[in-house]
Amino acid sequence: MSEVTLSEIEQLRAEATSADAVFEMDEAAFRALYDRTARALRMYLVRLTANTDLADDLLQETYYRFLRARAPYESDAHRQNSLFRIATNLALDSRRRGTRARLVAIPDEQLTAPGDLAAQTMARADLARAMLRLKPRERAMLWLAYAQGSTHRDIAGTLGVKAQSVRLLLFRARHKLADLLRGERGAISNRGGAS
């Protein structure tokens, strides 16, 4: 068995210290923040990209950029807004680079499942299709407002728009999505009536 010299121990200590100092935040604080935010952030990215694999990649990239930013944060809400802002920019960038959203096929057994599950699956598919026809910023805005419960000010900060414009933009996006949802439901009932 090889013996470890004193200088090797000092070198290992120095490496460990430099690894810890890579980010401003320590591991325990990161774990706590991650546990509070990761699931909501992943859901947001999935809705924004409509691609679960891409959303998983962007989730890791979001946390990496957040850690690397070494920015001072006033509160947890501030940290969370920053995470959503990074995630939004990454999702929009990936779209610009040409990673297009794709619809995930729904298994037949789910569509023919009895009771609530089939209805819920249909409703989710309708919403997913309708959301895909919105602009990414509209999708992001609606999700932040009605799934995350973000304020207009937070939405403005996350999406980089003026706080005064959020109300009008939200109204338009909501109206557009409502029309699209009614269209989806109408098309399904027409198909059902024809068959």
Binding site: F23, A38, A123
Partner: protein
């Protein structure tokens, strides 16, 4: 078409508190039926909230430790890359300057000067061919030289192999 209604917050509160539609005021339900702003709001909020609740358990989130570890590795790689970037830049600049100097010197020389110079150097070198007879003659004159050379080779070769293996 107006884009806001005074009752929007009431509708949102009812949906958030899960009172919508059965456990809220009849008056609010009637208002939503007649107000396009609140009707869209109720429809979209209910659909998105249902999607959020259903999606909460979809997919696996990677453990925090794994994400932290990946981030650490990437940060170190980025740091190393950033540290070598100036060195690579200086190498590039030095190579460019060297190429530029060589080309400038070559172009500054009169035509044919370089080939004449090379010819003069090669012609001034002594011409000597080393044959097998020379080797036999040298070893016959001093037989110890061959033995010393073989002994040195036998000692140095394993040492060289040892140091190469230790580095790996």
């Amino acid at each position: 078409m107006t884009c806001e209604c005074d009752r929007e917050q009431d509708v949102l509160d009812a949906i958030t508190a899960r009172r919508w539609p059965d456990r809220c005021d009849q008056e609010l339900r009637e208002h939503v039926n007649t107000c396009t702003v609140c009707k869209d709001l109720a429809e979209i909020t209910v659909a998105i909230a249902a999607e959020r609740d259903a999606a909460w358990s979809d997919g696996n989130i990677p453990p925090a430790g794994v994400v932290w570890w990946h981030a650490q590795l990437r940060a170190r790689e980025d740091k190393a890359r950033a540290a070598t970037r100036p060195v690579a830049f200086v190498h590039g600049v030095a190579a460019s300057v060297a190429v530029w100097l060589i080309v400038s010197i070559y172009r500054a020389l009169p035509a044919g000067y370089l080939s004449e110079w090379v010819t003069s150097i090669t012609s001034s070198l002594p011409r000597y061919t080393f044959t097998m007879a020379d080797v036999v003659r040298i070893t016959a004159a001093a037989p110890g030289i061959l033995l010393v050379l073989v002994a040195v080779w036998l000692v140095l070769a394993p040492v060289a192999i040892y140091f190469a293996a230790v580095d790996e």
